[in-house]
Symmetry: C3
């Protein structure tokens, strides 16, 4: 019997099953520098120790999206190695700030299972938690993936689909502690827009495009120790539908967040992801763009506010070309064009 | 109104204007490791803590060229996002050693403005300074860029062109303090050539070529948080003159400096850049070579000397093929061939 | 005379010659993160400070294969810059654990010399040692390379070929001190196989393939400050046999070791390399796969065992396609197919 694992198939999951994911990880300054080099991130809180200290942090904090990528990476070997598709995220909550030098472990619970009527695949819902070296939960998230069955055929099992909130409520958001609002100086971010400068319904076209190359997306995905085959194995992918490697969807989220800095530079804290979908795959050579709509805002006190945002990522075209089709799609008169790659509903904290 | 910035145009600059650049940056060991991986640098002072300590440094110093790249990167968003071309550098002075863990902030003053007669562009001269967390100036430099006008047409403004020195005088060079010359051992650099082994007028053909690939130059440029669009957006650049992304000129400087290690391994300290020009653009796939001429040398005392060098970077051909044309160009009988990409006049410190 | 070195040729080596290699290196957390990003390594001991501390390590250890790559890189400029081929390795012994922040220096002795009858090349055998900042030997290895002669023709010198052991005996292996076997928890590696689960003769097909891209292999090789021209200079390699840059053979070893994690996740410690050969070159675009045969196992006491392994790396095909040809080659009835790129005989430590 071959000792190498082929990963879990739909039949290997059971409701309530607990999976302790391997390869816990100490997150270092180097991971932050690599994240900057791989995505181009310019959020100043994560690359400026002096600024972080002024705000009350003793050490340099880790960008929550980098934390998410690393934590997510741990779950792939057990959950999505044989995934057909990553269907969605919900209730992604960043609960405690993670600092340079912290070590995170990740554990998941199977919270839902549902066969697909084709007899070939099923949907697995998991609730994953990242825990730091002190035993505190720093991140909690739910996701569901479509997974291949080991053997074709229906088991006619009872489907369990968890109730998933469509938003992490503003009042549940963890806020940075301690936070010295008086020390927040927009000089460090380069933009003066604070909470009250944004209007609900407002659109921001982030303008800049970032082209993806092979080594960059594979290095990012390897940095997260995410070992999903579809990103790495051209020999195998040559006989797939698109005949090429797929870019890890999380890398697209990071690129869109980086691009969104232009217009949202003070939205330094990613506090929650309410929901998200990868609308189409991306490939090396694609140029990613992003626009954001402000969905809601709320003053939280102590000089901080929350802003619920919808960021749309699309590729190889400009927003003015895409907007008419998007509007028709919103009205139900057309399909969303295949240029869209990401639809992300998330909440950020921003000085007020 | 869209909150994302389209960057400054010629009309947005005013003489004497001060620009505090965003995204100050803590420079870490990781930035040094990435710089090594991205350029192949082998200057031993920046990767060997024991050697640095023997010479009198308590912590590992940051390569001045890496410092320059990061400091320069900060200025792009305010100064050269809409640049047509980076025309030149002058009076680049490295004033204090920067160490692992230091945080640098960058501020610029507009010191010159000049409209071009085409009515479409103008030239902006800036004096930029990088300041560490203790408030000390660590780097000062001047550069001038050609910037698009927002609106076509002549304003017939009074042109102000600053006087720029064509050399940072040897006597103005900051020398490493403390510096234990007796501890300098050529075993660590791998070459025995010291100040007095070099003759004024001497040429060094550094032999080795380095091919540029996409992820490497874009990662370097992103590491510096330089967000100039021309390096990153293939979708936009497809309709430009060359139909492809341009390699950041600073990356070419770093590659030429790396290549120059072979023959200049003890010229560890970059002390000043007297002037520089990017003669032609470089693209992914190009192989960069370099030659250096020794322009001047001077003993500084305490076991250190200064050497003024001219390094020429060129691509996809050998020096013996290029030299005859170069010689004719020097005599004014021919154009400098378009294989040349860099002409850099700079000063290094070297044990004497 | 040009000050840049063209490297050593066969005539430049003498029996007993000692070469102190330049560019000693402090190995940092960043080198570990980069190694993860460049290879995808998931061995948990090197990325999880908490796990390392439970096992008795005060600081995060450096992966022995990363140590080898960096130490090997130092020797290239003096030994193999003009190598035609890296012929083999023997007696590679990891003697002491190297930790984040340690600085290693490398020295080599020429232990064998042999002209080839073509009069154009010769074989140089060297014994190299890496020494940490405390003066302790941390790594010792022998390798032999085919090197160009400066001038064609036979010198009819006396050939000296060193006796090389075909195995580092189990009883000579350095074991991690202190090692708290009771704290070893397979939860951290993700696999439950320990020493006694492996049978001599057993094969493991590691399944996963990793495609190599340009920036990734050149960045890895530059990180190690290995400056062999064949990996970096496309302009020069365009006129070579394969018309493209060769991937550094050491990078293939690292990729195969990474791939071997699936089935060997508890074989965390690389203790020795008994022998190795690069069977064919690899290029950007190739997808690397690996299989391993267990050659021998031995209980070492204190909860640790040793396992001698043979890992075969091959490219762009599956093991089931290759196995019949491999079996015929073993029986001497066929040549080993050119899909094979690596044949590595090494010894790992694994909890028992």
């Amino acid at each position: 019997m071959n000792k190498a694992s082929t990963g879990h198939f739909f039949e290997d999951f059971a409701l309530g099953q607990i999976l302790y994911h391997a390869v816990s990880r100490t997150i270092t300054e180097a991971d932050t520098s690599l994240y900057t080099a791989l995505t181009g991130s310019r959020f100043s809180l994560y690359c400026n120790k002096e600024f972080a200290q002024q705000l009350g942090y003793e050490k340099l904090p880790i960008d929550n999206l980098l934390l998410f990528q690393i934590a997510f990476g741990k779950t792939v070997d057990d959950i999505s190695l044989n995934a057909v598709a990553n269907l969605g995220y919900a209730e992604v909550e960043f609960l405690e700030t993670v600092f340079v030098g912290d070590t995170i472990s990740v554990v998941s619970e199977v919270i839902g299972l549902k066969e697909n009527s084709n007899g070939k695949t099923g949907i697995v819902y998991v609730h994953s938690k990242a825990i730091n070296q002190h035993g505190f939960q720093v991140l909690s998230w739910k996701r569901w993936v479509m997974v291949h069955k080991r053997q074709e055929g229906m088991q006619n099992m009872f489907a369990v689909e968890p109730q998933l909130a469509n938003q992490v409520p503003f009042e549940n958001l963890a806020t940075p502690q301690p936070f010295n609002a008086a020390a927040y100086d927009c000089k460090f971010s380069g933009e003066n827009f604070k909470l009250n400068d944004y209007e609900v319904g407002e659109w921001i076209d982030h303008i800049d495009g970032l082209t993806i190359d092979h080594s960059e997306h594979t290095m990012a995905t390897k940095l997260y120790q995410n070992n999903a085959k579809v990103h790495f194995n051209q020999h195998q992918m040559s006989s797939s539908q698109h005949q090429k490697r797929l870019v890890y969807g999380g890398h697209i989220i990071s690129l869109c967040r980086t691009i969104s800095h232009n217009g949202l530079a003070n939205a330094q804290w990613l506090a929650a992801i309410n929901g998200g979908a990868h609308l189409n795959p991306s490939f090396a050579g694609d140029t990613i763009y992003a626009v954001t709509q402000v969905l809601d805002t709320q003053e939280l006190g102590s000089g901080l506010g929350a802003m619920r945002l919808r960021t749309l990522g699309y590729k190889n075209c400009l927003w003015q070309e895409l907007k008419p089709q998007f509007d028709r799609a919103v009205e139900g008169k057309a399909q969303l064009p295949s240029d869209f790659v990401l639809d992300l509903d998330y909440t950020v904290l921003i000085p007020s």
